[in-house]
């Protein structure tokens, strides 16, 4: 199968000399300019932080916020410290230290579960990799603010205390 090279430089003389097309483009942008100049209220921008997306429209269920660890009914982490999230993580931001559980049915759980949110690229691969639905990014927290770098190392207790951030 031969490769077909598509000429993106425009068809016909008028397109090729650019100028009419440039003028068309300028007309589009200036139309928006004047429309909005005289009616600024119709602009769909949200006045963050006075207005909030989640309040105005609701967050999409696919929104990837800060991670949280889900819990079992007994309050223990669902995480089994299988380290698949740490393996899948492209930015190596997850650190897990597994330890043996006294309950032979559980076998192991994370003694340390640490996410470096500064390294995190919020790709969501950890969520996809997790076989136990133990890590989720549905906290709805998108504004991560701390006073020091060290505080961005979120540990197990913080991650487990976070609840699901929005309704369906």
């Amino acid at each position: 199968m031969a490769m077909v090279v598509k000429d993106n430089n425009g068809q016909g003389f008028l397109e090729k000399i650019y100028i009419p097309e440039i003028i068309r483009g300028l007309l589009v942008t200036s139309r928006h300019f004047f429309k909005n100049l005289f009616n600024i209220k119709q602009v769909p921008t949200i006045y963050y932080p006075e207005e909030r997306t989640e309040v105005k429209w609701g967050l999409s269920p696919r929104w990837r916020g800060r991670h949280r660890l889900t819990r079992k009914d007994d309050g223990m982490p669902r995480c089994t410290a299988c380290m698949l999230c740490a393996t899948a993580c492209p930015s190596h931001c997850i650190y897990i230290e597994p330890t043996e559980s006294a309950d032979p049915a559980v076998e192991k759980y994370p003694a340390v579960f640490m996410i470096d949110e500064l390294r995190c690229v919020f790709c969501g691969l950890c969520v996809e990799a997790c076989p136990c639905d133990a890590i989720r990014m549905d906290s709805g927290i998108y504004s991560l603010t701390e006073y020091s770098r060290a505080n961005f190392l979120y540990e197990k207790d913080v991650l487990m205390a976070t609840e699901r951030g929005y309704k369906d």
């Binding site: 089994t80 190596h92 650190y95 032979p104 049915a105 996410i115 470096d116 390294r119 076989p131």
Partner: protein, 541 residues
Amino acid sequence: MSARNQEIEVKNLTINGQALQAEDGTVILEAARSIGIFIPHYCYHPKLSIAGCCRMCLVEIQGQPKLQPACRTPVEEGMIVSTDSSKAIRAQRAQLEFLLLNHPIDCPICDQAGECGLQDFYMMEFGQHKSRFAKEEKIKRPKAVAIGPHIVFDAERCILCTRCIRFCIEIAKQPEIGTKNRGNHSQITTFPGQQLDNPYSINTVDICPVGALTSKDFRFKIRPWFLYSTPSVCPGCANGCNIFICINKKHYVNLQRAQIYRLKPKENPEVNDCWLCDEGRLSYKLVNENRVLQPHIRQDGQLVLVSWERAINEIKNRVQKILTEYGPQRIGALASSKATNEANYLFKKFAHEVLETPNLDFLKGLTGYGDDFLIREDKTPNTRGAIDLEIGPGAGGIGAAEMLSPANPLKGLWIMGAEPTESYDNEQVNEALASLELLIIQTSNFTASCQWAHIILPSATFAEVDGTFINYKGRVQRVFKAMQPRPESLANEVILGRVARAMGYDWQEHTPAEIMRQIAAEIPRYHGLDYEKIGDKGIQT
């Protein structure tokens, strides 16, 4: 070679359309492996007797109505085998499904995940991703049972390949485990009142194709796919078993340092086949724990951390002081049978050229339990090397025993990589060391003698250097650098070179390979040896 051919008959056969020759008595599985055809198997292990019970290796042989286990069927002249016929593949799929019926599918929890035979095939062409057996009906069995001091057993994950049983009978020669019950309630168990506690018990973990047997020491510590393996030689005893050192890949979050997670046996038919004793296997801990991480100098009775420049300067001044005040006869040098040949050789040179003393010897280290299989009584890896390098007192010099007796005439003593209290009487040694004016200890870990040391220099462990060990049979084997030395610690030969240069001697910086060539040139026994010749299997001298 030709003589061998006459003795051993060669059979011609065809596997998957590929013609090949195999020695008489070879099983189909091995013959196929020799031409790169992998036949799945669980119970078969080349070093154990053949059980043929997992039935994964069933292959179709032309002219035989039933499928035959490839692990058990010897090659025959004109045999036509197919491992990928629809019948064989179907049988293998079926066996895998049977094996997984009562096997929990909880790879995330299982410690074997990543190096598990079941997982490999489950994900491979045989996988039936949809289970036809309800999870709730799987037979419940004991989980996480400690069946020995080093072994944790999970009966649910066991696929009853019986490798462990055969290992205990045939290799460890201590039958401690067997099967009980019948049918799918069968399970491996220790014999009543017994534990899986033979000195080679962790090998059962290595040969267990699934996560049924796990090592207490390694269990859950890390996932195997985070590990790098470097070939090396076990430092646990004089046998010099070949090992792989498994260290972790660097992790960013807490900037976790590289450390050894386990040692695994490396196959070498001349030394250890593919086994390793528990004691040697756990000997890696000295690399991770209790390390000397910076040079120390004793000031006002206290050890204080100093820089290398400061420490070497101090050594230079104090050694020169002793040499000028008392003469070289009053200074001693002790090498170690734990150090590599390269370090010992350089130490000998150092003692002769820099310290100018005839008082040179090496410390033999601990002795302990030994047997006729892998474990030697001499618990140091390189005694033979130290002997071969002729590390011993020169004319008019004194030996280790004398140096470490309270009646010694020494004012200064330099100990490299050894702990005198391991080989000699504690009180005598303490008295001898306490009386010294200068005690320099080059060590990787804090030891009992460090309390008397005036200067402690942090040296690298066996896992952090290149070099050679010579086992009790005189086999020279290479030790490879598995990881960078801990910050501030240096290889013994580097330390010696630095001190020698600081004291005004024209010592070049030599790589271990260059030192080995010097040894080979000097010691007739090792004539012509170099790293390339030694290779990764070692060479007998």
